[in-house]
Amino acid sequence: MTSRPIATTRSVMGVPTGRLAVWWVLASETVLFGGLLGSYVMMRLRHGAWADQAANTNTWTGAFNTLVLLTSSLSAVLAHQAAERADGPKAARLLRYTILGGGVFLSVKAWEWTHEITEGFTITSSLFWSFYYTAAGLHAAHVVAGMVIMFIVSLTAARNEELHRVENVGIYWHFVDVVWIFLFPLLYIAK
């Protein structure tokens, strides 16, 4: 059965089903990252000495990555706007820019981590770095997932089909951006 069930087309609550589901996904991700970042903050407050370790994160790299994600959020919302205007190919193109932004983010991260690891700041060298790699790594995994889903959505959007998905994947992407907006000061500025 590949056709959509009638159930999917109903929207008693006034929110289209796909978007409603994305909000619930964000709800579950909020508590996931909230738990992890909350744990990090508690431990950071307990260990003032982590400031020494934290001084070794590169603020400029983090800031550049923040800029990249903010820009990719811009292209995502512009993609949504194109989809609203029923311009599927344009939306698909803007989604691809967003994916590119994600790619740049991950590349910078890979470079940054390589640099840090070769300097001796591995995941086990200090509990600060354990949290650093775990939190940023979990975030990066969500970036990858977002890129994959966005790619799939862009394929159908280019054919002017399922355009509502552009907005939905965009909402997910903005959430990934918001998590980084908090990770950036936590890991790079609060030293």
């Binding site: 289209p16 909350g38 744990s39 000495a49 903010l70 919302v77 512009l78 949504h80 950036f184």
Partner: protein, 116 residues
């Protein structure tokens, strides 16, 4: 099928999305410059205060939460509130440095930046 998602909602024109982006980048700049002033309190304000503002702007303007159904905002707010409960209930425990019947044997490495 090409169905507009917010048929009845005010459409933002492209310049305002770009304008929001511009503001976000400016705020990013301020938060990067903040630590350079050297006042710890100011750094925390610029870092986290600005993060909250940026997150708010992304949620409101990019995610369109301002024109979404109110209860969606409440659900997300409820999750955030739970995280506050989590933090409030656990932090006093985890951040303790001493207890009635236990000793902290872990020796914090000495800080090199002069602060305690």
């Amino acid at each position: 099928m090409a169905q507009p998602a917010h048929a009845d909602a005010p459409h933002h024109d492209p310049t305002s999305y770009v304008a929001i982006w511009g503001v976000l980048c400016a705020l990013l700049g301020v938060s990067v410059l903040g630590p350079m002033v050297g006042v710890r309190f100011l750094t925390l304000i610029t870092a986290f205060g600005i993060a909250i503002v940026k997150a708010y702007m992304v949620c409101r303007y990019f995610m369109h939460l301002s024109i979404e159904k109110k209860w969606v905002v409440y659900i997300l707010g409820f999750m955030l509130a739970l995280m506050v409960v989590f933090f409030g209930g656990v932090a006093p425990d985890v951040s303790r440095h001493e207890g009635l019947r236990w000793q902290k044997t872990y020796v914090e490495p000495a800080r090199t930046d002069g602060e305690r």
